[in-house]
């Protein structure tokens, strides 16, 4: 199973589908998500393709379904999640769906327009009834209605209405213009417009009018916008024709609804009753309409999800059919698909199955593999565990076809490097518990995760977080760090009392100095290395950081050199697979020699110093850094203490190797190509063909292929010399290009080795930061709370009480800060840096990452991913 190591083999196949079974075959293929279709009609735009009408029909139906879903949402009905997997509809079924959907839409629209009309009517009636009722108030004060010509002054207050005569204004009264009658306009206006309307009326009519207004207690609904406004009933009493027109115009400006005022009290009473009954009727009708709509929508809810899915699938199938070529002569659809080699038989089976179902006894649909030079898509099959890691590798670049996939190794190295930077037993334990909870309640979380993006990110990475937590527990035990305190699992190897018994310390020594140093050379003080991890005594030491820094820096360098060497070795696997033998000796071997001679030697020095030098000779132990620098500088060596015997000779030999591998990296390839070209020139025709094939194999910038046919098109009937000249030109350009390429890569590699090795020191840096943050948090929060019983002034029991009571919120604060700062912030930081180490330092040694992902024609991904195309 080469799946995750290298990616699967993919071949290009031509499908010949009989037109009548094409639709069902594509439906099956979409369900199975087997193959990726290539667009054979890419030069046509969307409107020139064959199945445009069908797609348009699908989109019409989709639009109507969208409208129905909107209505359902507006009515606050929940659409349940779709169960099962409905298939794409056949032509007949599609017609049924279309009819259903269109009928439902018609009914809904009709009902909607009726409802709007009824609402409008109801509003008007409501306003009219209010107006009648409220303006009655002003009318009552006036007494009986009479027709009289007497004028009254309008400048007085409303009480003067008692004396005023309320005359109904009619059109024919305009003949009595000489004696200006008191007329009035009544209606309803929204409360916010009222003050400005009043002012406008006063200014416009020069005071020849009286405005009387009463607010309506109930909120009225504006029929057009649907919002609720406060309104007032108003009554404008005026006399004079011109004033009347002005008043009406002004009222129009403010969008007032003007209603005619009844002539007599009797009429008024009748009108009020009539309004009342009409309002009740309309309310009843509206209620019935609402019920009907609700019922219809509830019926539709069950099928709306299914309709949408089916129509989507149909549209996807037609889009795919648009990508195929239609050979009307033989009546079949030709398409080119990328298919993983493993699934070819399955594909064949599907085609036969569909043809058989279509009623043909002989399977007419068949497929045919064709070799090709084009870049193949990359297929990596992942499961729920490996998909998170594959995603982070793909974020940098999708692997080229059949290239070694770094994901396989990232599964372990990434959590490990994260843990080296995060190493804390307590925090690792918390992370593990969290990830374990996510993993164990997978089914439940999968449903919740769909709604929240950030939670979904954590959920998708649950296995990664689990591994990171487990490795952090391990490194926490190695660093012996649990919430910044060390665990004494085994008894410590350092013994203080031995300094008194066998050593120079006395009782007075303790009072003499603030800081004392334990001497491991005294018998009994140091009894050997701690069995697992770092000795817990270092947690109490003042020079803890000096010790830990030295240890962690050296550890980072060792891990870095191992990681990078592994990357270089992986490039060997790529070279072997693609058959580039020249590169193995001209590129891989010099690279490895360079890296190991310099930094492999550094690792050797570190290990040697750890093993061969002890506390006895620690006073005269040489510094690795100085020796490493001197390796390159070749200074005079009288009097220097060497780390081991023969170090000078070994270093000189390694420097020769390093200085030798540089030029080979730089010039090896171009010289080799040049030599090949010279040989070819001496033996032209026959060699040209095979040399060209070999040269194409060697060229760096050809897409990496699985060693498939590098078909050389040799045109017949060519003059030999022309052919050779053309070959020569190509080779000439190639050598120059190759040289430039090699130059850039050599400089990048050599300088990169140095900088990348230093870059791995971030493992030390982040680990140090985490330790320090943890320590500060403990000291500031927990330590202060635990040390509270030191308040000397109060009573003992109050002191103890304060201590215990304050420990409770102090611990809560400690938990909050641990979680937010130490776990989330430091976790994200370590995650990012581990990711960078993988992307840049590790993958630059062997990974090209210029492929593209295999995206099969799959209904599942189309439905989840949103719009197709």
């Amino acid at each position: 199973m080469e799946d995750l190591y290298r990616g699967e083999e993919v071949c290009l196949a031509q499908l010949f589908l009989q037109t009548d079974v094409a639709y069902t075959s594509l439906s099956e293929l979409g369900e199975l998500a087997l193959v990726e279709f290539r667009d054979l009609n890419s030069d046509l735009n969307a409107f020139q393709r064959k199945y445009v009408c069908e797609i348009r029909r699908c989109e019409d139906v989709e639009r109507i379904i969208g409208y129905i879903e909107n209505e359902i949402e507006r009515a606050n009905i929940d659409i349940p999640d779709l169960e099962g997997n409905p298939k794409a509809p056949q032509h007949r079924e599609f017609q049924d769906i279309k009819l259903d959907v269109e009928q439902l839409e018609r009914e809904l629209r009709e009902v909607e327009s009726n409802r709007v009309k009824l609402n409008k009517n109801r509003q008007e009636l409501l306003e009219y009834s209010y107006m009648l009722r409220l303006s009655q108030g002003c009318v009552e004060k006036s007494g009986a209605l009479q027709r009289d010509d007497s004028l009254l002054s309008v400048y007085e207050e409303f009480s003067s209405l008692d004396k005023e005569l309320l005359i109904l204004e009619t059109e024919d009264d305009s003949s009595h213009t000489m004696a200006a009658k008191l007329s009035f306009v009544s209606g309803v206006v929204s409360a916010q417009h009222l003050p400005s309307m009043e002012r406008m009326l006063w200014r416009g009519c020069h005071g020849h009018m009286v405005l009387h207004h009463v607010p309506i207690p109930e909120l009225m609904q504006n029929a057009n916008t649907g919002e609720f406004v406060r309104s007032c009933v108003f009554l404008v009493s005026y006399w004079g024709e011109q004033i009347g027109m002005k008043v009406r115009k002004i009222c129009e400006c403010y969008h007032c609804h003007i209603y005619p005022y009844p002539e007599s009290k009797q009429q008024q009473r009748n009108l009020v009753l009539e309004m009342h009954t009409r309002i009740e009727d309309i309310k009843l009708v509206l209620q019935r309409t609402e019920d009907y709509v609700q019922q219809k929508l509830h019926e539709a809810v069950a099928s709306v999800g299914m309709w949408r899915v089916r129509v989507r699938k149909m549209k996807a199938i037609y889009h795919t059919m648009n990508m195929c070529r239609d050979t009307t002569a033989s009546g079949c659809l030709v398409s080119e698909v990328w298919c993983p080699a493993r699934d070819l038989s399955r594909l064949q089976h599907v085609l036969e199955h569909c043809s058989a179902r279509g009623g043909h006894s002989i399977p007419h649909s068949f497929l045919n593999c064709i070799p090709t030079q084009e870049p193949h898509p990359t297929v990596m099959r992942t499961n729920k565990f490996t998909s998170a890691f594959q995603n982070i590798v793909d974020s940098y670049g999708v692997a080229s076809y059949r290239e070694v996939n770094p994901t396989l190794y990232t599964l372990i190295t990434f959590p490990f490097l994260f843990a080296v930077m995060f190493g804390d037993f307590g925090h690792g334990l918390l992370m593990t518990l969290f990830a374990l909870w996510l993993v164990l309640t997978e089914q439940r979380q999968a449903r919740l995760a769909a709604h929240n993006e950030i939670w979904q990110m954590f959920f998708n990475g649950r296995y990664m977080i689990l591994l990171m937590g487990l490795f952090s527990i391990y490194t926490g035990l190695i660093y012996n760090d649990c919430f910044s305190k060390s665990l004494v699992i085994f008894p410590s190897s350092w013994n203080v009392s031995a300094m008194f018994t066998h050593g120079p310390w006395q009782k007075e020594t303790l009072k003499g100095s603030k800081v004392l140093s334990l001497d491991p050379n005294v018998t009994g003080v140091f009894s050997g290395p701690y069995p697992f991890g770092i000795d817990p005594v270092w947690n109490l030491a003042v020079n803890r950081l000096s010790f830990l820094n030295s240890y962690k820096m050296k550890m980072s360098i060792i891990l870095g050199v191992f990681h990078m060497t592994f990357g270089v070795v992986l490039s060997l696997f790529n070279l072997v697979h693609f058959g580039r033998r020249a590169d193995i000796f001209l590129v891989f071997v010099p690279q490895l020699v360079f890296l190991l001679s310099l930094f492999g030697y550094l690792v050797l020095l570190i290990l040697q110093k750890w093993v061969a030098w002890g506390p006895m000779d620690s006073a005269r132990a040489p510094s690795i850094l100085v020796h490493f620098i001197n390796m390159v500088l070749f200074p005079s060596t009288d009097g220097t203490i060497f780390l081991f015997r023969g170090q000078r000779g070994l270093q000189q030999f390694l420097m020769v190797l390093v200085l030798g591998s540089g030029p080979i990296l730089l010039l090896g390839k171009p010289l080799y190509l040049y030599r090949q070209q010279r040989r070819r020139m001496c033996r032209p025709y026959r060699q040209a063909a095979c040399a060209r094939r070999r040269m194409e194999n060697d060229e760096e910038d050809l897409p990496l292929m699985g060693g498939d046919g590098n078909d050389v098109v040799i045109m017949s009937g060519e003059v030999e010399s022309d052919f050779v000249d053309r070959v020569d030109e190509k080779v000439q350009v190639d050598i120059g290009e190759e040289f430039m390429y090699r130059l850039i890569h050599t400089i990048e590699y050599c300088l990169g080795c140095v900088s990348n090795t230093a870059s791995y020191l971030r493992l030390w840096a982040l680990s140090l930061a985490h330790t320090q943050l943890s320590e500060v948090l403990w000291e500031m929060v927990m330590s202060s709370a635990l040390q509270l019983p030191r308040v000397a002034s109060a009573e003992l029991w109050t002191r103890r009480a304060i201590g215990a009571i304050l420990l409770f919120p102090a611990f809560a604060l400690f938990v909050t800060l641990t979680f937010s700062v130490l776990i989330i912030m430091e976790g994200l930081s370590a995650f990012l840096h581990a990711l960078r180490l993988h992307w840049v330092e590790f993958q630059s040694k062997f990974y090209t990452g210029t492929g593209y992902k295999f995206t099969p024609f799959s209904f599942k991904s189309i439905l989840e991913g949103g719009a197709f195309q």
């Binding site: 305190k485 060390s486 004494v488 009782k507 303790l510 009072k511 817990p536 947690n539 109490l540 000291e779 927990m782 330590s783 635990l786 040390q787 509270l788 019983p789 030191r790 103890r800 201590g803 215990a804 420990l807 409770f808 611990f811 809560a812 938990v815």
Partner: protein, 96 residues
């Protein structure tokens, strides 16, 4: 129980996680103080002065015991909070 629901589902979940962590960690801390662990010497009050003025080990152990008792009391408070949060969770689940 007729008590009302004071905390929502998320707050009570936070409460119970905090309480479980608090109980476990404070009990362990109390135990470590009780066995006079040397690592925790900086968290015990007034040990700085003791080594200079007198080398009476029992006084130092007494301080250790006091701090241990504080930790156990705080653990008990967290246990109460935990029970309360647990009840809130049950009541929240019942409501829906």
């Amino acid at each position: 129980m007729v008590s009302c629901v004071l905390c929502g589902p998320k707050l009570s979940m936070c409460g119970i996680v905090l309480s479980i962590w608090g109980v476990i960690m404070l009990v362990l801390l109390g135990v470590f103080f009780h066995i006079h662990s040397a690592i925790l010497i900086d968290d015990v009050p007034m040990t700085g002065n003791y080594f200079i003025s007198s080398s009476n080990i029992t006084e130092i152990y007494d301080m250790y015991e006091k701090v241990a008792m504080n930790c156990f009391i705080a653990a008990a408070v967290y246990l109460v909070i935990g029970i309360f949060s647990g009840c809130q969770i049950c009541m929240n689940r019942q409501r829906f």
